[in-house]
Symmetry: C2
Subunit: 419 residues, 2 copies
């Protein structure tokens, strides 16, 4: 006897109950800290494997430490739709970041099985393990393994205790030599869908429970050094100063204006170090970071040109030296348009207003690595106050339920498209 599909409210309640189970596993009691390949990551992977099996998936922990679950479609070994996210966390992180996306995949698989719905493709759920870039200097390595761009050099990277990733992987029960075999064939994954907490305040401000990600933003970072002339704060007249701090302050405000003038772009000065840094000395030099992001590579190139031009003008006018060294230049990763529309159809069917909010992702996600392999898309869930990477990270059960229901409807929409 089959059941009807569960309501958003039921899905929300199931998700919160499941997260309570999964989030027992932590490296630090009293906090949620679950670093890649740690003992608590192994426990969480075992729990996830069990939950997948209960939802009717065949499951295993793969060579890189991800948990893979699959229910076959009409043809054994045929192409799949994959729902995934990660179960590693930052230190003292939030309950939803990554974990909710994995739980969502499991609940979608369970609901489809319970409703007796036969999909025209295989369904996979995956729990990646190395999204947060905390323990090792690696990032998205477990999703890169599936996408076929795992760099073997990553195995030699070390954690803060000097342990190599390859040793940690063996201790975890993984298999460094098996990683190349994890790569999926082109066409074998029809779609990768990821549900994730927004980690920002946009949806809350706009009163939307969910949003569809348009792109994972392009990002550039530069270290800027401004060199003026240190001087006595009492004796050097204003007109004769070459104050590195006020020059840099003007540049920080210029960056803010440049970012604000572009649709969906951000620009941040996060590090700002003053030399010599004494109350009675006019600063001689300042080193600061500039981080700027946009869904569009072209926008970022235009922003960089504007930054160089405005900063150069400020430096010239103030008689200070300027050095700008770009050290990160990551292009944008657009999300698949068809999958975005499938998610939008899901929003409409899940009871939304039919015009789902679309927004870029300022942070990186496994979907970024998977986009190299297959069409990929993401659904963001409203984040109270936009706080993430913190035990204060939260969302409502109602929003979680709506989002999982949207994922379910999006999978059904993809099934309809097969016919």
């Amino acid at each position: 006897m089959t059941q009807s599909l569960p309501s958003a409210a039921v899905l929300g309640a199931r998700a919160f109950a499941a997260l309570q189970g999964l989030n027992r596993f932590t490296d630090e009691p009293g906090k949620l800290t679950r670093l890649y390949l740690s003992p608590s990551h192994r426990q969480a992977a075992e729990w996830t494997k069990g939950a997948m099996e209960v939802a009717g998936l065949s499951a295993f922990i793969d060579a890189a430490g991800s948990v893979q679950g699959r229910r076959e479609g009409p043809v054994s070994g045929g192409p799949c739709v994959m729902i995934g996210s990660h179960i590693d966390t930052v230190k003292d992180g939030g309950r939803f970041d990554g974990n909710l996306g994995v739980v969502a995949g499991i609940l979608v698989a369970q609901a489809l099985r319970d409703a007796g719905i036969v999909l025209p493709f295989a369904l996979e759920v995956i729990a990646f393990g190395d999204e947060e870039n905390v323990r090792f200097p690696t990032h998205l390595s477990t999703s890169a393994a599936l996408a076929g761009h795992y760099d073997p050099a990553w195995l030699d990277s070390r954690d803060a205790d000097g342990m190599r990733l390859t040793e940690a992987l063996v201790a975890f029960g993984g298999d460094p030599s098996g990683i190349p075999k994890l790569v999926r064939k082109p066409g074998s994954v029809k779609a990768y869908l990821e549900l994730h907490i927004e980690q920002g305040p946009v949806l809350e401000v706009e009163n939307e429970p969910v949003g569809i990600v348009t792109a994972i933003n392009a990002q550039r970072r530069a270290r800027v050094r401004v060199t003026g002339e240190a001087g006595h704060a009492g004796t050097v007249p204003m007109s004769l100063r070459k104050d590195a701090l006020t020059a840099s302050a003007e540049m920080a405000l210029a960056l803010e204006a440049i970012a604000a003038a572009e649709e969906q772009a951000v620009g941040t000065v996060g590090v700002f170090t003053v030399e010599p840094g004494a109350a009675n000395v006019v600063p001689g030099s300042v080193t600061f970071t500039v981080d700027f992001r946009s869904p569009s590579n072209e926008t970022l190139t235009r922003m960089e040109a504007a930054i160089r031009s405005r900063f150069g003008e400020i430096a010239a006018r103030r008689g200070v030296f300027l050095d700008i060294a770009v050290y990160t230049n990551a292009p944008a990763v657009p999300m698949d348009a068809g999958l975005q529309d499938a998610l939008a159809e899901g929003v409409a069917r899940a009871g939304g207003n039919g015009t789902a909010r679309r927004l870029p992702s300022g942070a990186a996600h496994d979907a970024m690595a998977m986009a190299a392999l297959c069409p990929a898309a993401m659904l963001f869930v409203r984040n109270e106050k936009g706080i993430s990477h913190s035990p204060l990270e939260t969302m409502t059960e109602a929003d979680a339920g709506i989002a999982i229901r949207v994922m379910l409807e999006a999978v059904l929409e993809l099934a309809r498209r097969e016919n």
Copy 2:
């Protein structure tokens, strides 16, 4: 047989030769570091005492460590004109800061003696010992002893090694119990004149070898704390940020504009500390110092009102919290008008253009403490590139000579005024 008064060129050459002698004494070989009451301070004091005696002064090292030299006038014990500065230095300091002023006094006394000029007042030369506020948390204590505002609590202050000032003074050969007896009676010092390197670039920019100090600037300092909201540099849109750094940057530029708009005022942000200070985090809080100075207390009060108003407006507009705590509020110390004119007469007679540049002093000097006792005035000497508190501090021998000749002429002018 008497000689004519020495030329500026001769005085400059004598001064540079004398400084070579005096500046042998240092706590750190290879650098000029002569902290208050250190062994090298004792050696320098002995050298200074000898130089004073050779110039025809009776000299002794007083209870607080200053070297006092005196030649009586017509009435023994009668009122004096005093020329002084300090022989302590900062760590790795310059050759001229303080030392040149003491050497100038000695050379003036010597030149007058050699020329057989009889003054209508006693002439004193003094080498103070605690001007730089480096070893102990005290400042101008040796000139304060003469002026009658030595705080006995200073004797209990400690240096970085935990040694109390009173112990250091005994080890130096001073006498803590004798300090109260150093105070001069009102009227016993007719004038205090101090020659000092400018420690700033004004005279160089204006192509003047010397300048007459109008006032030692009033100074206020505040610690400002700006509290916004930390956030992910990638996910928080520009319009929703409460960025403590850009708010503080705007305040630093507002301070710069406020100071630039006032005649002879300066304003500096020297310390600027960002929390959390990571490239990918929008700064949640910034703490910075504000130092502002002016020859006029009224100007400083107006500046503080403008700072509070502008900073408050910026904080309100940006939705950040603002806390301003003033922790230093030192009033201006005007230099005596009559003595400024005597120095101006000296400039005219020493071959200047007769219209001496007048400028405020942004830094504190012993003349500030002495002004509580008697009329006081200062002559600044052009400082190459305005660099001071550095081994790169320098001036030309020609400028030093002109300045000492001006001091000599100013003393003669004061003598003329007695008739």
